[in-house]
């Protein structure tokens, strides 16, 4: 997290800490599902065939403490079928679900987040929070940090990408957040964590995006998997949960 601040215990109780091909994040859905980015399991430009161990930790803001609480074994990994590991410039379908072997007991430091049900969560300028154990200004962190970012205008992000002469795919199943004028962003190690907004109508926190990709950190916009596009797939994978 660039330009953010240290999270207090219970600020982001859905935050998961993953260690697969490096640090990553995730969010708790229900009491036995972890939502994360597919590329934390199948990184781009990586020859690994998904046989790395998947370690998932929950329930604390300290890396040391969260690991002391123990790894949560995974029963099943589900990668979205649109995800293409071999296309380094295409993060379409960058979403995955991890089913835990055992349900977790919820408490103040461990609670699930909700899923979006309409497009208003993606209105331009809507402020959201991104949290993670990823790097901050070239430093690795030992505590969970977060940053508050606005949902950016799609056209601005497209124009920004064109200005960078990049051919990265920015599809309708993604959205961008941040601002080139701000020194705030998510960064490496935050992937898989969620972009969370508070719904003032229901007073609930809703995960609207998954930290997916960006060009550098804090030099423009960050790109997120748009969860509203994948709610049906998530529900299908989770079944009656």
């Amino acid at each position: 997290i660039i330009g953010g601040q240290r999270a207090r215990p219970g600020n982001f109780p859905w935050q998961a800490f993953t260690n697969i091909y490096g640090r990553g994040g995730g969010a708790l859905l229900g009491d036995r599902w972890i939502l994360t980015a597919a590329h934390t399991l199948y990184p781009k430009d990586h020859s690994a065939q998904g046989n790395a161990s998947v370690d998932v930790f929950l329930g604390h803001t300290s890396v040391e403490e969260i690991m002391k609480l123990g790894n949560h074994p995974i029963r099943r990994v589900s990668i979205h079928p649109d995800y293409r590991q071999d296309e380094s410039n295409n993060f379409e379908g960058d979403i995955a679900l991890l089913e835990l072997e055992n349900s977790v007991t919820l408490g103040p430091n461990l609670l699930p987040i909700c899923l979006p049900d309409n497009d208003t969560f993606y209105d331009t300028g809507l402020m959201g929070y991104v949290s993670g154990f990823g790097i901050t200004e070239e430093r690795i962190v030992s505590h969970l940090r977060f940053v508050r970012l606005p949902v950016a205008r799609r056209e601005a992000c497209e124009k920004w990408l064109q200005g960078k002469q990049r051919n990265d795919v920015f599809s309708q199943s993604m959205f961008c957040a941040g601002d080139p004028s701000l020194k705030q962003d998510s960064c490496q190690g935050d992937s898989g964590g969620v972009f969370a907004v508070r719904d003032p109508n229901s007073d609930r926190w809703v995960a609207t995006g998954i930290v997916s990709w960006g060009i550098g950190c804090s030099r423009g916009y960050g790109f997120y998997t748009k969860l509203l596009s994948y709610v049906d797939w998530i529900k299908k994978e989770m079944g009656e949960d």
Binding site: G10, D31, L111, I113, C114
Partner: protein
């Protein structure tokens, strides 16, 4: 003589019938039917020369060495002695018809023609026993010593109880070694009672009635068995055993007391010596069905279905419990209970007890807990608990029309199962609550 082959029925006619019979003729027809039958004969046609005393032409009938009549003339005519519709009956199985004609049939110089006769005979059963009665009257030897039974074509003899038919088929000899009485009531007496009993008897009278019946004996007057003033029953004696146990030996003129055996088996042994002239004994036995004590419950929760005022052998009662209680026989739980009244007047099973149903410790609710809304720790019939979810992290899943309070209420039912009114045994579900951090991120600095 003409012997007609033995048949059960047939006809006898005069020669040349229905043409005029010949003169100067005499023949005797012998009608025979099987043994055990009599011969009955009747004339259907009769047309013979009439004469005073049937001197010229006649038919003579005889049977059993007796002459049954001499007949002539015509049916319906006053002349001669026609037989009319008279039936002739033999005592034995044979009847003889003698037909006689003289040298001519003239009347006032005119030759007359007579057709003769047509008689029909049939075999009718001979009641040999009736014959025996007649024979007794006539002081002849009876066919049967005791009892005679007629049947069509014959008879047979039998003897009174205590006697046995001998090989000759009509004699009876005292034989009372194994007399069995199985009717629920009846009379038993010494042979020939109230006339003197025979000598040298070894009689055994067994009464065996159905299980569940008790036998009662009552001796009738006169009671008279040869006795001696100083020695107990030295000559003749009556021994009584109830269910194999001796009740006593009796003789003299004092009849035994009425006896309640409380069993379904009595044996009477009657021994006589070679002499004596006592009249013997007679008893009337009756039975009464055994009764069981009135069933009584051991607690206020036991119920007896259709309680009867009396219970006797083979009757039964069904016990059950009030709602919420279960039948216990010792430490064993019963699904039903039936007790049957036995032949000794006892119930085949002891009365059960009823124990209140216990639903056991309520199941723990994942991510939830429960409280007793009735007495804490008591989980018997009608106990009630309330399940809750660990809020605010979990919330109970309910149907649209139901509240968490309703969904979480469980009662210990009469079946011994915790049940919710709407969902039955199924436990409620505590679902995770999403998006409600207890300590959400806040920014104070502006």
């Amino acid at each position: 003589s003409i012997h007609i082959p033995q048949k059960l029925f047939g006809e006898v006619t005069s020669p040349l019938y229905p043409k005029p019979y010949p003169n100067n003729f005499e023949t005797t027809t012998v009608v025979t039917v099987p043994q055990g039958y009599r011969v009955k004969l009747i004339f259907w046609q009769f047309d013979l020369e009439p004469s005073e005393g049937c001197f010229y032409d006649y038919v003579k009938i005889s049977a059993d060495k007796k002459n049954l009549g001499r007949f002539c003339g015509q049916l319906g005519s006053p002349l001669g002695n026609p037989p009319g519709k008279k039936e002739f009956l033999s005592q034995g199985n044979k009847m003889l018809l003698t037909f006689h004609t003289d040298f001519s049939n003239e009347e006032n110089g005119t030759v007359m023609f007579y057709k003769g006769f047509l008689a029909y005979y049939q075999a009718v059963d001979l009641d040999e026993c009736a014959t025996q009665l007649n024979s007794v009257e006539e002081a002849a030897q009876p066919l049967c010593r005791h009892l005679c039974h007629n049947y069509v074509g014959g008879y047979f003899c039998s003897c009174r109880p205590g006697y046995e038919l001998q090989a000759d088929g009509h004699s009876c000899q005292a034989s009372c070694g194994s007399e069995l009485y199985t009717e629920p009531s009846g009379y038993i007496s010494s042979l020939e009672y109230p006339r003197p009993y025979p000598s040298d008897l070894r009689c055994n009278y067994s009464i065996r009635v159905e299980r569940g019946l008790t036998l009662h004996l009552k001796f009738l007057e006169p009671f008279e068995i040869d006795d001696h003033q100083q020695v107990h029953c030295p000559y003749d004696q009556l021994q009584i055993y109830a269910s194999g146990k001796s009740i006593g030996e009796f003789c003299g003129t004092q009849r035994p007391p009425d006896l309640d055996s409380s069993g379904n088996a009595i044996d009477l042994l009657f021994f006589t010596d070679e002499s004596g002239d006592s009249r013997g004994w007679k008893l009337h036995y009756t039975t009464e069905i055994i009764k069981c004590p009135q069933p009584k419950t051991l607690d206020e929760f036991t119920m007896i279905r259709d309680l009867q005022p009396k219970y006797q052998f083979r009757d039964y009662f069904i016990a059950s419990c009030k709602q919420g209680y279960e039948l216990m026989e010792g430490k064993q739980v019963l699904t039903s209970f039936t007790a049957v009244c036995q032949d000794d007047g006892t119930w085949h099973r002891a009365m059960p007890r009823c124990r209140i149903k216990d639903c056991g410790q309520p199941r723990s609710l994942p991510n939830g807990y429960f409280h007793y809304t009735t007495t804490r720790g008591v989980h018997t019939y009608q106990a009630r608990i309330q399940y809750y979810c660990h809020e605010p992290y979990y919330k109970m899943l309910t149907r649209a029309e139901s509240s968490e309070l309703e969904r979480g209420t469980y009662t210990c039912t009469a079946q011994g199962i915790w049940k919710n009114e709407q969902e039955g045994e199924k436990l409620p579900r505590c679902l995770p609550v999403c998006g409600k951090p207890v300590h959400p991120v806040e920014s104070k600095q502006r």
